[in-house]
């Protein structure tokens, strides 16, 4: 049994069915409302049409401490154009109505707290959110959050780091639903030229501890198709690509059509890399 509920969650079954076909999942990230609501909707749709298996949407926070300059910049752009937690959840609802894709939200705890746990999670559920990643919510402090999120059938996805001890890792595996988010380097989000050597080792370590009870997806510094291929080959069930896509948005602010085409192409290349038989 992958978790305490009777059935697999939507995210788990998505990852499971890809795995049974010998594929990893491509989890594609954009910051909600970047650079504005309408463009974001088009861009997110392009990611799905390009082949993203799961969409991860950031609700922008003023002080994103887990993020490098690229996602900091996107958060600032989104906030300047008026993005709010409620507004981004509204955009997510539009995507979930238009496309059949599991959607995961990444945000920081204060935004959830300011809205109120119950209200935030209820709205998220109604918007079609299937999972939540909160980098500044440690598993040790998460009891009331998890209680409320499971009530609303939203997976709580915890982050594990390369230096997370086996004891804590077991706790994270036990208390995560959907997948465990393996941070594949020491540091913050951002595109890197090479895959950090620590990444493959980390994935193997967490896979061994998880014993198949929950899927593992790796993120941070995974930006190119060859990184995706390597991380999937190492045993990850999914690869999360964020900053490399956000950078496409940032570099093409003057040409919205070009942004969409480039995003779709990038995702399509990244997706191909999740299928070892095609690589």
């Amino acid at each position: 049994m992958p978790n305490t509920s009777q059935t697999e969650t939507a995210i788990e079954s998505k990852l499971g069915s890809l795995r049974s076909r010998g594929q990893g999942a491509l989890i594609a990230f954009l910051t909600g409302g970047d650079p504005d609501g309408k463009s974001f909707l088009d861009n997110a749709t392009a990611l799905v049409d390009g082949g993203a298996d799961i969409l991860e949407v950031g609700i922008p926070f003023s002080d994103p401490i887990a993020d490098g300059p690229v996602i900091q910049g996107s958060s600032q752009r989104a906030l300047l154009s008026g993005a709010t937690p409620r507004g981004v959840l509204g955009l997510i609802k539009e995507i979930s109505l238009a496309r059949s894709v599991p959607i995961v939200v990444l945000t920081y705890y204060n935004l959830v707290l300011a809205t109120g746990l119950e209200r935030f999670l209820k709205t998220a559920q109604r918007s079609g959110v299937e999972g939540l990643v909160i980098p500044d919510l440690p598993v040790e402090e998460s009891d009331s959050f998890r209680k409320t999120s499971s009530k609303h059938h939203i997976d709580t996805i915890f982050l594990a780091g390369p230096n997370t001890s086996p004891t804590r890792m077991r706790q994270i595996i036990e208390k995560s639903h959907g997948f465990v988010y393996m941070v594949s380097l020491f540091g913050v989000t951002g595109p890197r030229r090479e895959l950090d050597p620590v990444a493959l080792h980390s994935v193997k370590r967490v896979k061994a501890l998880a014993k198949g009870r929950i899927p593992i997806a790796a993120g941070f510094g995974i930006s190119r198709p060859e990184h995706v291929a390597e991380i999937i080959a190492a045993g990850a069930d999914g690869a999360i690509v964020g900053s490399a896509l956000v950078e496409i948005v940032a570099h093409n602010l003057e040409d919205r059509e070009r942004t969409r085409v480039k995003l779709k192409d990038a995702v399509s290349d990244l997706k191909k890399a999740t299928n070892p038989s095609l690589v």
Binding site: N110, L113, G161, V188
Partner: protein, 372 residues
């Protein structure tokens, strides 16, 4: 989380070891200049009318502020943990200077994150840090002040956690920092309590200190927590006034939230976005506050008030002229409030104000605001 767990274990173990305590005690005495005097400010007392105002002279410490109490403690801890590189954030620059000093004397490498706006208004401290051998990293993100410097230091720490120790300068951040910094700063209150009993024969009626992150106030308050007859007053930066919205007073005007790894009062908008703050003193310019202050306020053990930019500037001048002591603009907030408070007590009562730093760093700022 893992580095925080390691830090807590190391701190618990080392802080009990007699060799650690002995070395720290020696450094505080012979390097930093402890104990600091508790000075009866007769002229200020006369001018204020009311209780005797005593000043705890943390401004006389090496480096010019209370910050060295904490940096020596943590740098020593870092060294014993085998770390070689120390990172720190700084607002007014006093913590950066104190970090640079502690690292120099203990043979550690120091790198300090500082908001670009703060680098501008506290230029003197930027020079000092560099001369003391520290590298200063300008932070251009967000509001370019203390909170952004903390963000960058945290990002550095998760990247270089193997050899790097993050030396936080106030009672803020994730556990165990608020506890640890409080412990290192409690020497202020321990000395002050002993000194006032010696000079007055009884406890003071009140202890007053400014609150940014809240380390100098927590250091003064903590040893008096169980002396219920001693009123504790924390003074936040009222900036241009609470009604105008440009201030740095999370306890007086903020809401509960989670930021920088702590649950506390925070200045935030309705959605939970952290708001930018304003204070004439860079050291108080922070949208959060140590969680133990939030607890002391909620349990009503301590009271919190504000002093505005103008009130702090006035207190700066008053203390300079009446006592020949130039306070930093941070404790000038506490002084301003204390001079009003003194009138509520009798002439035989005593109140202690923590004079947490000296004003040399603020001379330019003051000169700009007060012509001649």
């Amino acid at each position: 989380m893992e580095p925080l767990i390691q830090l807590e274990l190391s701190y618990r173990k080392l802080s009990k070891e007699s060799s650690f305590r002995k070395e720290l005690k020696g450094l505080l005495a012979n390097y930093a200049g402890r104990p600091t005097p508790l000075y009866l400010a007769r002229n200020l007392t006369q001018r204020s009318g009311g209780a005797k105002i005593y000043l705890k002279r943390e401004d006389l410490l090496h480096g010019g502020a209370h910050k060295i109490n904490n940096t020596l403690g943590q740098a020593l801890l870092a060294k014993r943990m085998g770390k070689t590189r120390i990172i720190a954030e700084t607002g007014a620059g006093q913590h950066g200077v104190a970090t640079a000093m502690a690292c120099a004397t203990l043979g550690l490498r120091a790198e300090v994150y500082m908001g670009e706006e703060d680098m501008e208004r506290q230029r003197l401290n930027v020079y000092r840090m560099k001369m003391l051998g520290a590298r200063v990293h300008p932070v251009g993100s967000g509001s370019r002040t203390l909170k952004d410097a903390i963000n960058e230091a945290l990002r550095d720490w998760v990247t270089n956690v193997e050899d790097t120790y993050y030396l936080i300068g106030s009672v803020v951040g994730p556990h165990p920092y608020p506890t640890m910094v409080r412990d290192f700063q409690s020497i202020i209150g321990i000395e002050a309590r002993r000194q006032i009993l010696q000079s007055e024969g009884h406890l003071p009626r009140a202890a007053v200190a400014c609150v940014g992150g809240g380390s100098n106030s927590m250091g003064l308050f903590h040893p008096f927590l169980h002396d219920l007859e001693v009123d504790l007053y924390g003074v936040e930066a009222g900036g241009e006034g609470l009604d105008r919205g440009r201030h740095a007073a999370p306890l007086c005007a903020g809401r509960e939230g989670v930021f920088h790894g702590m649950l506390t009062y925070i200045l935030q908008d309705a959605n939970g976005q952290i708001q930018s703050t304003h204070s004439i003193s860079a050291g108080l310019d922070y949208p959060g506050v140590g969680p133990e202050h939030a607890f002391l306020m909620d349990t009503r053990r301590a009271k919190y008030a504000v002093a505005t930019d103008n009130e702090a500037l006035e207190a700066f001048q008053v203390l300079s002229e009446t006592e020949g002591i130039m306070p930093a603009l941070e404790p000038a907030h506490a002084l301003s409030y204390a001079t009003k408070l003194a009138g509520n007590y009798r002439k035989n009562d005593a109140i202690i104000v923590n004079l947490s730093g000296r004003g040399d760093k603020d001379v330019e700022t003051v000169a700009k605001h007060i012509p001649n």
